[in-house]
């Protein structure tokens, strides 16, 4: 039963992966990575029951904590990049104008 669930999750991970590869916008990728993180957490928990090594729930916990940090970081840097592009555009405008 665990194996069946694991396979279903793997299939879901595969589809998410395709979305992460295809984009098209940065936000699609972030969404896909975030969702991939969630499925990994589930996958790790399921596999830990499958192998009867229940220590691994610790790893699932770490993932749940840290993949969130990763997502926020990505969002922050998307914003920074956005502002940077705006600034570059402004610089160019200024060079054209005078």
């Amino acid at each position: 039963m665990y194996a069946a669930t694991a396979l279903l999750l793997l299939l879901a991970m595969g589809m998410t992966l395709v979305r992460a590869l295809r984009g098209p916008t940065v936000f699609d990728r972030i969404l896909a990575v975030n969702m991939f993180g969630t499925s990994t957490v589930l996958m790790v928990s399921v596999v830990s029951f499958m192998h009867h090594v229940t220590d691994m729930t610790d790893i699932a916990l770490i993932y749940a904590l840290l993949s969130f940090t990763g997502t926020i970081a990505v969002l922050r840097f998307v914003e920074i990049d956005h502002e940077r592009r705006e600034m570059e555009r402004a610089e160019q405008e200024r060079e054209v104008l005078p």
Binding site: T5, M15, A60, H82, A90
Partner: protein, 151 residues
């Protein structure tokens, strides 16, 4: 009793797995970002909840169950918050849901917020070009309240 629990947990696990497929399929096939986000939340909350509660039933009343519950709690908190931030960033970046007038979204975005917390682009524009410029033929200025022309 134990058989009942087993069957119940299997049902939960499998339905969780199936939901994850549905959710991933949506993320893969739906046409635009906000619809995909909607689909992704299915896994983030319901799918994760089902799978984890299936596992909790298997583990019984142990530390493992507590940890799994923590995982669920964290996922429920973080994924939703992340989704909120993601949507907000996407809107600020100029990506709008289909079939909705951008003007409406923009008005909604900048209306509800105090001046200091307006969205990224407004601020970036202001920062670059300070408002009061007494020049002839100034560059297209964003007006304070109405929002800048989106490039």
């Amino acid at each position: 009793m134990s058989l009942l629990l087993d069957v119940l947990s299997w049902v939960l696990l499998l339905s969780g797995g199936l939901l994850s497929i549905v959710s991933a399929f949506g993320v893969l096939r739906l046409p635009e970002l906000f619809q995909r986000m909607h689909s992704a939340t299915i896994l983030d909350t319901l799918g994760a909840g089902l799978v984890l509660s299936g596992l909790i039933l298997q583990a019984g009343f142990t530390v493992i169950s507590f940890k799994l519950f923590l995982v669920f709690l964290l996922l429920a908190l973080t994924t939703t918050t992340a989704a909120h931030a993601l949507a907000k960033s996407a809107l600020a970046d100029g990506i709008y849901p289909k079939g909705i007038d951008p003007e409406v979204v923009r008005a909604g975005l900048s209306e509800g917020l105090p001046g200091r917390q307006r969205i990224a682009t407004d601020r970036a524009r202001e920062r670059v070009a300070p408002p009061a410029s007494p020049q002839e033929d100034p560059p297209p200025q964003p007006s304070e309240e109405g929002g800048p022309p989106w490039a």
